[in-house]
């Protein structure tokens, strides 16, 4: 039975696409057949982060409209043969997504894949609602700042009232908190909300804390999901999150300020 996972947040720019790419890649590297679907119709980015933008021929909207079949639109990842990308259309808008159309595509994907990762657009309009409607699991990506936390709270309300599982009275969507762009140093100085603050407000289980890292931007620009970069703290933190998603129990890393060694203090980090 395929698991449909939505990566959502409400607010833009918190790291949904980066997280979708990393989590999908992580699951595939663990041997699970995974597809990551870009729901951000009109502002497609996932293909860039995944480094497959030059291989997009058909897209999600083409499949919904019956202009192409799934096999034509799915792009196989170059690094991992268990990983596929279903890109969004850049020339259409969110209204191209219909509940029936999306439902049909996800149903077809569920026959072939273990995990379907839905990369939600920002906002609470059609695109975002469509991406979370069919979800079994929601990964709520949140930055440690008040506006992001409030928008995440709003999205959690939507998951509890507007999802298919809520409407049909099934077991509710499993919700997990993924805290991104976390900077322990700024938490210490009181500029940023702490893990505990965010957990207290949102009251859902924490699946990972991704530290603010130069590696993320570098990875995005070079079209390599940051999880591939296992030298980086962000890459390792995503690996931990993926492991927790598949049921492993791991202690949290990168949540306390790193004591700078003598040499680091002299030469900088």
């Amino acid at each position: 039975m395929a698991q449909i996972i939505v990566v959502t947040s409400g607010k833009g720019g918190v790291g949904k696409t980066t997280s979708s790419a990393a989590i999908a890649t992580g699951l595939a590297l663990k041997g699970h057949k995974t597809v990551v679907v870009d729901f951000d119709i009109g502002l497609r980015n996932l293909d860039l982060i995944m480094g497959c933008e030059r291989r997009v021929v058909y897209d999600f909207v083409n499949v919904i409209n019956g202009e192409a079949n799934l096999n034509q639109a799915l792009i196989k990842d170059k690094r991992c043969d268990k990983l596929f990308v279903l890109p969004a259309s850049q020339t259409r808008d969110k209204d191209a997504l219909t509940k029936e159309g999306v439902g049909k595509v996800l149903q077809d994907l569920a026959k072939d894949f273990e995990y379907i990762i839905c990369d939600s657009p920002a906002g609470i309009e059609t695109g975002a609602m469509m991406s979370l409607y069919f979800a079994d699991i929601a990964i709520v990506t949140t930055n440690p700042e008040v506006s992001s936390v409030r928008d995440s709270d709003r999205i959690l309300g939507m998951l509890q009232s507007k999802s298919k599982r809520a409407e049909e009275g099934l077991e509710p969507v499993k919700e997990y908190l993924l805290l991104t762009r976390y900077s322990p140093a700024r938490v210490t100085t009181g500029e940023m909300l702490s893990v505990a603050d965010v957990e207290e407000i949102l009251a859902i289980p924490l699946i990972g804390v991704i530290p603010e890292s130069q590696a993320v931007l570098k990875a995005s620009n070079s079209g390599v999901p940051v999880i591939i970069d296992q030298e980086s703290d962000a890459g390792q933190a995503y690996s931990d999150a993926v492991a927790r998603l598949t049921g492993e129990e791991l202690p949290l890393r990168f949540v306390t300020e790193e004591k700078k060694g003598f040499l680091k203090r002299i030469f900088g980090s």
């Binding site: 409030r150 928008d151 709270d153 709003r154 959690l156 309300g157 939507m158 509890q160 009232s161 207290e200 407000i201 009251a203």
Partner: protein
């Protein structure tokens, strides 16, 4: 302007209902007399409605029953639950046929119902407990609204808006485990965060309406 010489208004009265359970007038007369003997003043001139649901015989003499009751100085204003043949007799005797208004009259107020929410109320969600209290076992987030015609109890942090006594109940209260609200209101009187902070230094508390202004008292929850 000419004042009207009459006015028609609906009004309800409580009337005693006499249930006749036997056809035989003599038997009824005998039992009635013994009843009247217990409290003769109470029944004197009392207006009565006669319930004839137990009488099935269409030939039953309503006139006979009326004479019997009038002779004991009881005033019959009408009959109820009578078979149609007897109802026809009532017309000729000048008695009203009264429909029991039990269902309509006996529901002046719906019973109070309590609404219980066993999860966090998230930003953008609104919960309204009509005609009753609202109990939230969880937190009310920033940007969430909880409203009740009665009182509101929150077993968690109140960070959003809470409006109790929405239909005007001035005795309603708001109780929260942690008062960190955007707005609290009782029967239309409200406080914003800053007003609340002026009056309260405590975490958990009870907000009530005293006169025209709100007040907060600390509670150990």
């Amino acid at each position: 302007m000419q004042t009207s010489s009459l006015e028609l208004k609906g009004s309800s009265f409580t009337l005693s209902v006499l249930h006749i359970k036997h056809q035989d007038l003599d038997k009824v007369a005998q039992e009635l007399d013994s009843k009247l003997a217990i409290a003769p003043q109470f029944f004197l001139g009392a207006p009565l409605v006669v319930n004839l649901s137990a009488i099935t015989d269409g030939e039953y003499s309503l006139a006979g029953l009326k004479d019997l009751l009038v002779s004991r100085q009881l005033v019959i204003v009408g009959i109820t639950a009578a078979p149609s043949a007897i109802a026809a007799q009532a017309k000729t005797l000048g008695l009203a046929i009264i429909k029991s208004g039990k269902q309509a009259d006996n529901q002046p107020q719906l019973p109070k119902t309590t609404k219980i929410v066993k999860q966090n109320v998230r930003s953008g969600q609104q919960i309204y407990a009509k005609n009753g209290d609202l109990i939230v076992v969880g937190a009310v987030g920033n940007g969430a609204e909880v409203i009740a015609d009665g009182s509101i109890h929150i077993y968690g942090s109140l960070r959003g808006k809470a409006m109790a006594g929405a239909a005007g109940d001035r005795n309603a209260v708001i109780i929260a485990k942690s008062l960190d609200a955007e707005l609290v209101s009782i029967a239309g009187q409200y406080w914003l965060t800053e007003n609340l902070n002026e009056h309260s230094t405590t975490q958990s508390g009870c907000i009530r309406l005293e006169g025209e202004s709100l007040s907060v008292e600390p509670l150990a929850l």
